[in-house]
Amino acid sequence: MNGLMRWQRPETAVWPGFGRLTDLREEIDRLFEEPLGDLVQSSQLMSGWTPALDMFEDKDNLYVRAELPGMKKEEIDVSLHEGMLSISGERKNEGKYEKAEVYRTERFVGRFQRTVTLPTPVAPDKVKAQYKDGILTITLPKTEEAKPKHIDVNVS
């Protein structure tokens, strides 16, 4: 009998850095299941993190919205430069579960950056951002010149 064997930590634990690679199979499975459009977003294996971005417009403002779940406000940077809006940041490995066995690590850790060209000029000093439920919403007021104007024309 060999009841008290020399114990070794099982090799099943995935080294966190390789987490994304173990997802390769799933990623390939998804390839066959999803239309191409979805893949561009879901395939973060090669491209890193590309948070989904939306842009809206009304008479007075442009709105840019980004899905950034699980960030801290301080980790998000928003900057405006020559009509280009950049959203960047870094999600750090919190190290909370360093001693734990890791079964799945699909959540992205690391830096991301997205830049969009704004279709109209905005007033940089009036830009506001809000972060709620993992979604960042940036409100960019249009400059007076960029707002649509209503001109009354007298038709005689």
């Binding site: 842009m55 417009e57 779940p69 959540r107 972060y131 439920d133 993992g134």
Partner: protein, 125 residues
């Protein structure tokens, strides 16, 4: 394979065909105390969460908070669909003590192991 929390039925064909749900990205860890599952569900808050236990399966559904469309969309990459994923539970989990918490669009599920199977220290008398 070890009895981990396995993914059960990754989106049934009908569900996938209707494209009603998005599969959230998850992290799963196991400690001596139990399992921790984190799922990314941007736009989902406490009110939008629906977690159901049935037999040895746990289903996580996240409904996005009703969105206010601020004006006309110029372009859109986010998918206004809800999140859903099903997992098979390790039998050592004490299903009576599962707890959930959501913060900035990330759900954290804590799934403690029942006392019976927890690693225990034996003190030498």
């Amino acid at each position: 394979m070890k009895t981990v929390q396995r993914e059960a039925r990754p989106a049934t064909p009908e569900v996938a065909a209707r494209k009603e749900f998005v599969t959230p990205e998850v992290n799963i860890f196991e400690t001596g105390e139990g399992y921790v599952l984190e799922a990314e569900m941007p736009g989902v808050n406490k009110e939008g969460l629906e977690i159901t236990l049935e037999g040895n399966e746990i289903t996580i559904v996240g409904h996005r908070a009703p969105e206010l469309m601020p004006g006309e969309p110029l372009f859109r990459e986010s998918q206004p669909r809800d999140f859903r994923r099903v997992f098979e539970l390790d039998p050592v989990i004490d299903t009576g003590r599962i707890s959930a918490h959501v913060e900035q669009g990330v759900l954290t599920l804590t799934l403690p192991k029942s006392e019976r199977v927890k690693p225990r220290k034996i003190t030498v008398a």
